[in-house]
């Protein structure tokens, strides 16, 4: 099994992540799954569309995973992001880490998602009934 799983996929199956992060040296696994919410600022979201600059996104995701493995003592790390159209409740991102003790995997997991949101070239368009909005594009 790889120690580091970095992927951009069409559909995320969150159910497999604990098997992917499991290993004999880990006492804890922390995972964050980002999902599509029905409402944003009070407006009903029909769906989200994710687009990526895949080559660069995979590079940036790999950097984040490496940085986390340098900062904390981790056994395995996963960063998996979905692209395309996503309906309400669908998982769009899964990040996680396993470690001997729980401090490391909790802190690393938070770092993975926070940094991903800042640096990875993935763009989210919110589709409402009457309009579409590229998230965070404007001040």
């Amino acid at each position: 099994m790889n120690k580091k799983i970095i992927e951009i996929v069409d559909i995320i199956d969150a159910s497999q992540v604990f098997t992917e992060l499991s290993d004999t040296q880990s006492g804890g696994i922390c995972v964050f799954v980002g999902t599509v919410r029905e409402h944003t600022k009070g407006e009903e979201v029909v769906s989200l569309e994710f687009e990526t600059y895949k080559k660069m996104a995979l590079k940036e995701m790999d950097k984040i995973a490496k940085e986390a493995m340098e900062k904390w003592k981790l056994n395995k790390v996963i960063i998996r992001h979905a692209v395309g159209f996503k309906k309400v409740e669908a998982p769009v991102v899964v990040v996680g880490a396993s470690s001997a003790h729980r401090d490391a995997c909790f802190e690393a997991c938070r770092y993975l998602i926070d940094t991903l949101k800042e640096t990875v070239p993935i763009w989210k368009k919110e589709l409402f009934k009457n309009k579409t909005v590229w998230v965070s594009a404007h001040p």
Partner: protein, 80 residues
């Protein structure tokens, strides 16, 4: 020279790339590229931020551009 566009940058330009032909004035650095596209497409000036990637890495303003580089406009990211 070819510049890849993503997300709202595609909507602003109305295409998935910008072509600079040999006869055009071609940007020689990241800052020149930013200036040129902001002048041609005022929508870029209204974004929260604007970054450029050269060969799929974030590039500072002073990075020179070569016609063989893979260049991309990176509007504000919103993954996760």
């Amino acid at each position: 020279m070819e510049v890849l566009l993503f997300g709202i940058a595609k909507d602003i330009v109305g295409d998935s790339q910008i072509q600079f032909s040999e006869t055009d004035k071609v940007p020689r650095s990241v800052s020149e590229l930013k200036k040129m596209i902001s002048e041609t497409y005022p929508g870029f000036g209204r974004l929260s931020s604007l970054a450029v990637a050269v060969n799929s890495e974030y590039a500072q303003d002073d990075v020179p551009l070569d016609r063989n580089d893979e260049i991309a406009i990176i509007p504000p990211v919103s993954g996760g």
